[in-house]
């Protein structure tokens, strides 16, 4: 009885709103049956986006995008507000998840050449979405508005200013003035909260519409190269024979995977909490060590490793050229083989990209190019003398900053060569020349060392011989 009434109510509603008539055909449209787990990444990216929208709205209820207040309000959200730490954590891990998933989705689509006819626009809208997601990630880290956030603005401004002719204009546009100030954060807030999400909503809508319009692609088959003249017909025919309805035959996998994703996001947020806030956002404080979030470490490393003359090409080239190449890809290659086995270079590109990403990310994390400002002094047993010129030289390599860049028996930075065995590698004269003149990225120390200090340092360095070099820290 009750059931029947419920059904009658639903029928009334369904008739008026047209769910079965208009929506069901989309939800239950026929899809190839062979994709299985390969196609879950797109929907998972969307799920992560939904997490971001939901948590983002909550955060916006307490976050104040003001010069002083932003940091304080984030402290409040993180430390005092009920569920604040969990919600902020979800937003942070959700961002990581979204970036990761969108990249996996893109790689999968590239590997299977799904961008070929008739799905060129699916790919192109996807590329725009990919870049906007990266923009969200960057502006999001900046909205933390701690020291790192403020200095990220400077870095972004400097990069933008490298654009020929209009560079400074772009920078001043980004800053909302000529310096970081009251208008800076509010602008980035508007990008992050209104403009870019707006583009994402519109883009996802279009992306999904195109997905329904052209249907889910089949798994690539080496015997079925894409021929625009016959593709649609054959695709329809094959679907009729072997296809299954998207809901629920294919979609359950998306749901399972998305559950896993949300589970991981919430789990990480609950267990590890949101990323710690850096020091307060004072542009006058120089004790900041600006560092982007992990997904940009590779780029951070690139900026450090490049010779300055190539740098401009990279700063502007990677985003602009990268975008154009990806965006226009289907215009250049929209037919032919889709199977990775017939496109070895595509596999090669993916492998090379992944490998460089991993290597550069590790580099970016370790920052071997950065002087180590926190080095400890060498203990006496490592110096190997308790008085005299060798001992004083051992003290001077610390106080004169040699060790910021040079490792000596496990102490010191990694910017320059390890000096633990320098006594065997260079003669006294060579050492003096090298220290006085610098070279290979080493500053000249001629003006900051007097001859007495120099000779003590060299005395000490000449004792650096690996075998008898005393105890090593590592």
């Amino acid at each position: 009885m009750k059931k029947r009434r419920l059904k009658a109510a639903w029928d009334w509603f369904d008739d008026r709103i047209g769910f079965s008539e208009c929506m069901m055909p989309y939800i239950a449209h026929t899809v190839p049956r062979d994709a299985r787990w390969w196609y879950v990444f797109g929907s998972a990216t969307l799920t992560a986006f939904i997490v971001q929208v939901a948590t983002g709205i909550c955060l916006a209820m307490a976050y104040v995008p003001g010069g002083d207040e932003a940091y304080e309000s984030l402290r409040y959200i993180t430390e005092e507000a009920q569920f604040g730490s969990l919600v902020r954590g979800m937003h942070a891990y959700g961002a990581s998840a979204m970036v990761t998933l969108v990249v996996i989705h893109l790689m999968q689509v590239y590997l299977h050449a799904t961008y070929k006819y008739p799905r060129e626009l699916n790919w192109m809208t996807g590329v725009v979405l990919f870049f906007v997601v990266l923009g969200m990630a960057f502006t999001g880290q900046l909205l933390r508005w701690d020291a790192n956030g403020v200095w990220s603005v400077f870095v972004a401004t400097e990069m933008a200013s490298r654009t020929p002719y209009i560079g400074p204009m772009i920078s001043h546009f980004l800053l909302g003035g000529e310096t970081v100030g009251g208008s800076t954060l509010t602008r980035f807030f508007a990008y992050h909260v209104f403009i870019m999400p707006g583009i994402i909503f519109a883009g996802v809508g279009l992306h999904l519409f195109l997905l329904f319009r052209h249907g889910v692609s089949e798994m690539p088959d080496p015997n079925q190269p894409v021929d625009p003249a016959t593709y649609k017909e054959q695709y329809e025919k094959r679907l009729k024979e072997t296809g299954v309805p998207f809901w629920p035959n294919a979609m359950w996998r998306d749901v399972v995977f998305s559950t896993l994703v949300v589970g991981i996001i919430v789990g990480c947020a609950a267990i590890f909490g949101p990323p710690a806030l850096d020091a307060s956002p004072d542009p006058a404080s120089i004790h900041a060590d600006p560092m982007p979030d992990w997904y940009f470490w590779w780029y951070f490393a690139v900026l450090s490793l490049l010779p300055p003359s190539y740098e401009l090409w990279f700063i502007l080239g990677v985003p602009i050229f990268g975008f154009l190449v990806l965006f226009c890809l289907p215009l250049f290659s929209n037919k032919g083989h889709r199977a990775p086995s017939k496109r070895p270079w595509a596999v090669g590109i993916i492998v090379a990209a992944l490998a460089s990403f991993v290597v550069l990310t590790i580099y970016g994390y370790r920052e071997p190019w950065s002087p180590d400002f926190g080095v400890e002094e060498l203990p006496t047993n490592v110096i190997g003398a308790e008085e005299g010129p060798v001992f004083e030289g051992g003290k001077l390599v610390h106080s004169k900053g040699c060790m910021y860049c040079h490792d000596i028996n496990g102490y010191g930075g990694h910017r320059g060569p390890d000096l633990s065995n320098i006594g065997q590698q260079l003669t006294r004269e060579d050492l003096i020349i090298r220290i006085n003149n610098g070279g290979y990225n080493m500053p000249s120390f001629a003006s900051s060392l007097n001859s007495e200090e120099l000779s003590k340092i060299v005395d000490f360095l000449m004792t650096r011989i690996e075998d008898k070099g005393g105890s090593s820290k590592n």
């Binding site: 003001g66 310096t179 006058a284």
Partner: protein, 179 residues
């Protein structure tokens, strides 16, 4: 549908009128769009063209600074925004060269703007980001920076050290020290 001559007459008329309606609607939509968007575009782009009037800021008495020492000083940008709070602050490395002469280096690395630190022992400015190093006089000693550290104008007035505020030193812009 049965087509009579009179029908055709009417439809031809409608077609004319329709093409007029199409054009009118498209045009007016454009007008609506422009009216809505243009003021906003102006509002958003305005900061690009606004030149802030830079000011002299006092950094304290000359005698507060030791000859030869390089110290961090902080002062306020001439920001018109009252709510800028701490973000209106900025800093420089100030060195008293002799009795009368001061040099103020910008703390922004000329590579990508990170805050450089003065390191006393080796007398170098070092950047924590990508390993840029500058000599005592601000010239590049190593790493990626393409240009020497920028300098602020400084002067001594009535026994006070004063610094002239400036925009963020972008690598592409000219240095702002005219002295």
């Amino acid at each position: 549908m049965n087509q009579t001559p009179s029908d055709k007459q009417c439809c031809k008329e409608t077609e004319d009128r329709r093409s007029f309606q199409v054009r009118l609607s498209m045009f007016l939509s454009g007008v609506i769009g422009a009216l809505i968007v243009l003021p906003g575009v102006g509002f958003v782009l305005a900061p690009i063209f606004k030149k802030t009037k830079q000011k002299w800021r006092t950094l304290g008495r000359v005698d507060d600074y030791q000859e030869g020492a390089t110290v961090l000083v902080s002062f306020e940008d001439p920001s018109p925004e009252k709510w800028a709070g701490v973000t209106a602050k900025t800093a420089a490395w100030l060195r008293r060269v002799d009795k009368e002469k001061f040099i103020a280096f910008s703390i922004n690395c000329r590579h990508l703007g990170c805050p450089v630190r003065w390191v006393e022992g080796p007398e170098l400015f070092m950047c924590p980001c990508h390993g840029g190093v500058y000599y005592k006089d601000g010239t590049v000693a190593g790493g990626p920076p393409p240009e020497p550290l920028d300098r602020y104008q400084v002067r001594v007035r009535d026994g006070n050290v004063e610094i002239h505020t400036a925009a963020v030193p972008l690598t592409t812009t000219l240095t702002f020290d005219e002295s």
